[in-house]
Symmetry: none
Subunit: 407 residues, 2 copies
Amino acid sequence: MNLDELYSELTLKGGAKLVLLVLDGLGDLATKEQGYLTPLEAAHTPNLDKLAKDSAQGRMIPTAPGITPGSGPGHLGLFGYDPLEFQVGRGVIEALGLGMELKAGDVCARANFATLDAKGIVTDRRAGRIPTETCEKLVALLSAKIKKIGETEVLIKAGKEHRFVVVFRGKGLEGPLTDADPNREGFPIPTVKPRDPANAKQKKMAKLIADFYKAALPILAKEVPANGFLMRGIAHQPEIPLFEDRYKLKPACLAVYPMYKGLAQLVGMEKIEGPQTIAEQFHRYLAEYDKYDFFFIHYKYTDKAGEDGNFAAKKKAIEDFDAALPILLQKRPDVLAITGDHSTPVAMKGHSWHPQPVLLHSAISGSDKLDRFTETGANSGSLSVFPAKFLIRLMQANGRLFDKFGA
Amino acid sequence: MNLDELYSELTLKGGAKLVLLVLDGLGDLATKEQGYLTPLEAAHTPNLDKLAKDSAQGRMIPTAPGITPGSGPGHLGLFGYDPLEFQVGRGVIEALGLGMELKAGDVCARANFATLDAKGIVTDRRAGRIPTETCEKLVALLSAKIKKIGETEVLIKAGKEHRFVVVFRGKGLEGPLTDADPNREGFPIPTVKPRDPANAKQKKMAKLIADFYKAALPILAKEVPANGFLMRGIAHQPEIPLFEDRYKLKPACLAVYPMYKGLAQLVGMEKIEGPQTIAEQFHRYLAEYDKYDFFFIHYKYTDKAGEDGNFAAKKKAIEDFDAALPILLQKRPDVLAITGDHSTPVAMKGHSWHPQPVLLHSAISGSDKLDRFTETGANSGSLSVFPAKFLIRLMQANGRLFDKFGA
C-alpha cells in the first residue's frame, strides 16, 4: 500500500486548529566567524524559549540529502507534497511570484526582452537590462495587441528590468517544452519542442509558442534595444491534489509576498489579504480563527537577511518574530509548528540543503526538555532528522486527526 | 522522478577537492568490559579533536538497519551506490581481494580444493585445508594446462590454504549460476545451472563450467588429498555507472590492500600504487593533489584489530592514523569526510551493522560544537543517522557541486 493512501484512509475530520509558522530560510550554520552561534542561537527569544520547554524538536530535510531547494519545492514539502513527485516549473513559480492568479492547466513561461540583429541573431540576451518602466511599457504594448492566439487566452505581465511572464490559458495544453533561448549570444532563437515528442498536448503548445512569436515579434520590430524576447521554463501548472481534500482541513494562507501566496494557492489554500507585518498577520489569525482549520503563516525577513549575508539582520528578524508571537498565542492553536522551508545560512548568502530546525508544540507533543529552540538543540530532539513532507503528518497526529492503523 | 536522476541533473562540474578517508571497521561499541569507551573514545586524537570543532558529525547505516555488510557493499555504499541495487558477487570480491584485474563482463568463481572418492562423492570439502604452497602448486598445474575453454580465456589464481579463484573472460557470458558445491560431504558435485533459466548467457556460462570440470578433474586425478574442487558464487562483474560520469569528479584510490583497490577500480577510480603506510598515503595525496578531484584513502588496521578483538590494537591504529593526519591537512581539501565502511566492534570480533560515525568538514559544514569525534558525540550531530550512500551527496553539496532544485 502506498503511504499517502494509508494516511488518507486514516485521516479523520476533527475540530483541531493547526498553525504552520514558516520563518523563510530559518536554518543556519554555527561557524567560527560567528562565534559558533547561529542567528537563532544568538537571538533573544523569550517567547520561543517559553514554548520550547513544552515542545518536541527536530530537523527536516527539505528534499533529499545535499539538495538545496528553491521556494517552490521547499514549500510543497512543508505542505506535505513530495517535491520530487510534484514538480512546479520555473515559469509557474515566476508567474506566482508576480502575483498572477493561475488556473489548473495554465502553461507559464519566463521571458526576457532581448536584442536581435537584422538576421534574427541574439546579440544581447537581456536587451541591456532595460529599466522596469520600459519593460512595463513593452508588455502593455504586447498585451494590447495580443489577447488570444487562436482559442487560447494569453496573459502577459511585466517583472523587474528585462523580465516578464507569459501565461497561456486554454484547453489541451501542456508543458514542459524546450527553451526558446540559445543560452548565449550569437545564435538565433531556437524553435521550442515538446520534451516528450509523443505528447500531443506538448506538440500543440509548441505550435502556440511559434504562433505567439509570429504575432509578437513584428510588434517589437522597431523597439531599441528590446526588439525580441526569449522564453524559458515553459511548463503547465501541475495537477496537485487539493490540500483540503488531502487532509480534511480548511486551509488559509497569511503571507505578504506574492510567491508564497501563489504556492499556497497552488494547493488550494484561501489567501487572506491585507496584513503587511507579522504582528498584523497574527492579529488577522485571531480574527479568522473560527473560519479555518489550518493556517499557513509566512515570514520572509529571515531569508532576506540570510541572502544578504547579514547576521545581525537575521538575528533581528528572529527577535521581531519572537516579540510578535504572544499575539498568536492569545488563541493558542491545538498544534503549532515553527520552522523554515530550508536553511539560508548567512555564511552562504543563499539557500542550502542543511536541515532546518523545527519546533512542534501541542498538548501531546511531549517535551524534549530543551530550554531553547535552536539548531544544536534540535539535533537531539525527539523528532530527529526527517523529510519535511512528514511535518504535516506529525501535525495531523498531534491534532488527533488520524485513526489507529490496524487493531 | 527518480532521486539519482535528480542528483545527476543538478550535478555541477566544479574545482572542489574532496577526500574520503575510510578507517575500515572504525565503528565500535561502548561496553562495560571496556569501561564504556569505544576505541575511538579511548584513543588520544589531538588532530581529529581539532577538526571536530569545525565539523558536522553523524552516523551512517551501511546498508539497512541490522544488516552487516561485507567490504563490497560497505564500500559501494560509501561510493554512493545503493548496495541493494548494485550487488557484487562473492567470486568478484574474492578475485579483487587477490589483486586480479577484472574487466567488465568477466565471470568469477570462488573455488576450493576438495577430496573426492572413487565415485566422485565429496569426502572433504576443504581437502584437509592443504597448505597455501600446495594450493599454489596445484593452481600452477591447472593454469599451465588450461588457458582457454573454447574461445573463453581462463585465469586461475591461488588464495590461502585450499582457496582459489577462477575468472572466465570472453563474450556473451553472465552469472549468477547455482553453486558447484553440495554444501556438505557425502554428495557428488552438483551440475551448475543458470539462476535465470531463460537467460541464454547464463546457460552458455553453465556449459563452460561443465567443460572446465571436464578439463580440470583429470589433471588433478592423482593428487592427494586435493583431487577435486568446488565452485561457488559464480557471477559476472556487474555494470556499474562510472564514478566520474556519475559525479563529474576525477577519482583516485590510495589503498594498500588489493580488495579495496579492486572495489575502487570497479567504479572506475584510478589506482595510485606505491604507498604502504598511512603517512605515505597522505604524502602521495599531497603529490597528486592537482591531478584528481576526489581521493578515496583506505586504512585497514582498525578493522584488523577489531576482527582480532584487540581493543588496545584498535585504539593504537586510530592514534597512528591521527598522528599522520597533519600531513594530509598540509593541503586541506575543500571537503573532508572521515568514517568507516562499517563497524567492527572489538566485542564481536567481526563486522557489524552498528552505524559507523562520520565527520564531515568543509567551510560550510557548520559546527556541531563537539570537542571530539566519537560514536557518542556523533549521535547528537547535525548529520543524524543516515544511509551511507548519501555521504557522497553531502560531500558534493559541501563542495558546492549541486545546482539549486526548482525556483
